[in-house]
Symmetry: C2
Subunit: 151 residues, 2 copies
DNA sequence: TTATTTTAGTTACACCTGAAACCAACTGCA
DNA sequence: TGCAGTTGGTTTCAGGTGTAACTAAAATAA
């Protein structure tokens, strides 16, 4: 009976997720930071634009779970580097229309395989059953946390 | 055949982990930030000190997976607020010896249950089997990533 | 039509962060 | 001893970040 709540960080779920995900993200980030001078936010923006082109900054924000300020800055940097191109939506002059430039695609085509590769090397440690559980569980937790955050 | 690697962010493991863990951490962080004026790093340091007292800053860094600069700053702020106390190790005058102050314990005793509560509410969405799988899988991934980072 | 509110995106501010340089104390080895 | 290298911890600097305030355009309402 210590009289204090027992919070062991090492087994506390939010902490474990955080450490794992940060280590993971940084490991991948380091690669494209050193080799391609891309920050995490920049790469995320490029990643969604590689998957779906001609979308607005707001939609990039939604799909990357970054806030619009972060996106605005990432977009500004990517424009300056020439990795993306920006137009204006015909039906709404406020909205931008973003897409990877030819240069951008060249970088995407190098970085995306690296990222996927890292993921595969990790997943290689899990068998089929575990992967299925993981996917399902992350999905459940994500929905739960979403609901939680709306309370 | 698009000719480009298919990287769908929504199903990319590092991305999913990152979004989930950030949302989760921030949700918890918001509580103790608003109510107790504690940053994530500060709370993490307090959490390990609540679990194991009289350890050095280096050991806090290890146990929180923060780097020593972050710990140094967190410790400085916690000292100023009076939440922790600092001594010097007898056998090594460079090392600090950190522990929660009485004030610090009072805060710990309020925050720790809140954090544990949030975790419980999340875990409530998983059944016993899923929790077991999650624990095992996170453990595996963590070890895999550690090995990966040493390559 | 005009007035009000909402939305897309940028800017300003104050804070937080990591990398590298730094200092002091310790260790290992000759 | 004494010198080289390592380690614990702090400081500095250059950027990144979130919040709030802002502008312009669009949607809504009167």
């Amino acid at each position: 009976m210590s009289g204090h709540a027992l919070l062991e960080l090492e087994s506390f779920l939010p902490y474990r997720l955080s450490v794992l995900s940060n280590t993971l993200s940084q490991a991948i980030a380091k690669v494209y930071d050193k080799r391609f001078d891309l920050s995490v936010t920049e790469w995320r923006a490029m990643a969604v634009l590689g998957y779906r082109a001609d979308i607005s900054a707001r939609e990039v924000a939604e799909r990357t779970a970054m806030d619009k300020v972060a996106v605005s800055r990432a977009v500004a940097r990517l424009l300056k580097k020439g990795h993306i191109e920006r137009g204006t939506a015909r039906h709404d002059k406020r909205q931008s229309v973003l897409r990877l430039s030819e240069e951008g695609w060249k970088i995407y085509d190098q970085v995306a395989p690296l990222a996927l590769d890292h993921e595969q090397r990790l997943l290689a440690h899990l068998d089929v059953e575990e992967r299925a559980w993981l996917t399902r569980i992350l999905d459940t937790l994500w929905k739960a946390e979403l609901a939680e955050s709306m309370r």
